[in-house]
Subunit: 229 residues, 2 copies
Amino acid sequence: MAALKQKISEKTVERLSVYRRHLKELQKKGKTRVYSHELAQIVAGTPAQVRRDLMQVGGNGCSSKGYEINLLSDEISELLDYPEKQNVALIGVGNLGRALLGFFSGSRENFDIVATFDNDPDKCGRIICGRRCYNADQLKKIVGEKKISTAILAVPAEAAENAVKDLIDAGVKAILNFAPKHITTNSNVFIQTIDMTMALEKAIYFSHKNTYAKESQHERNRKNYQSTF
Amino acid sequence: MAALKQKISEKTVERLSVYRRHLKELQKKGKTRVYSHELAQIVAGTPAQVRRDLMQVGGNGCSSKGYEINLLSDEISELLDYPEKQNVALIGVGNLGRALLGFFSGSRENFDIVATFDNDPDKCGRIICGRRCYNADQLKKIVGEKKISTAILAVPAEAAENAVKDLIDAGVKAILNFAPKHITTNSNVFIQTIDMTMALEKAIYFSHKNTYAKESQHERNRKNYQSTF
DNA sequence: CTCTAGTTGTGAAATAATGCACAGCGTGAA
DNA sequence: TTCACGCTGTGCATTATTTCACAACTAGAG
């Protein structure tokens, strides 16, 4: 228990999430132990980086046997998750919103999308992918009632700014924003923007640069991981 | 023309894309000039950082008048884009794929989704959102014919690895991967994974940490920008 | 038991990214 | 014309992140 409550960097949190998902796959395959260099491959990092990350969750690797998968997975979960399943709301039930709803459904242990919101009267009141769709003006009420801590924002760019305001006002603590618009706040609310347009433009940019910018194998591996987002 | 062909960092490329989109909005509003501190707000960075980024594209800000929006936008485009519109393929026409197709449609100047692929016989041959859907086994042929440089991958996690192999084999140069699976390659192909599950887990993680980790205003602003992806 | 091979944990070095601070300049006012 | 203000471009300091490299340890072979 080395690193209790030591502030964990965002990058590390991101990687821990990726490690954990991979660990669960390994569990399914019946593996019981894993080495740092195996996990390193997943995130295209170095074994040293993986070990450092894992130290933050109480690094209990065993020399020459590596890490015990079950234990490690549990430890990561203890760090990333909360005792109670977290309730999440989806704002904006357009094409993207519905796709995200499907994407995030299924057996999730640590969170649950419990409500959706839209301001299209045709959608409100209906059940979409198993979740009730509320009118946007119900936001504050439902967020309070259902103790929703986090929101997924899938509204058009023009609507994003106001939606964020409303969400913060409603008491949400984190927002995962898919609208192609970067939004800041001076509140304590955590806003993570997934800027898909930017990501595609970036991919297109590097699609060509890569061809005539030969690098070492190692460099290339690192390049391929990328921000992961 | 300070920085011609100087290697531009990924972070900078990301921000340039964001700047450009904002510049185009400003253009629509009729603004003609912009200051570094205005752009800094957008990405929750510092003016110095913005100026550094812009220097890479030929920094031609004018003392006390700031940057000329039209010129700056064009210069960023010259750096990020290519003379020819880039052809993009979408792999996987499920819910998410179709949503992405819609999301990336509209008036894009620098790229165009020209084909979609799926291995569901029901989908193949049909026109989906205006794009012909091909069978996956046509990939190499079509990628060659249509000079597709970049692919958007929206297949289930299990299928991602093989899909990436096929795409690389087909000659694609960059992949934007939405499958919750990190994939590496030793080819020169640029793979950018948008790990939405990870992003949500991260958001949930920081939703709580933020509440009892008060920081300076400035720190908070930085936190709120986040990886942007 | 001893030795070898291979792995972890981690201090220290290296690298990358960010922010500070100021010289230099253009602008507009007087 | 002169001056004050405010902004850019940038060297340098600072901070964040990654990698190196090695001591300590474990397992297994002989």
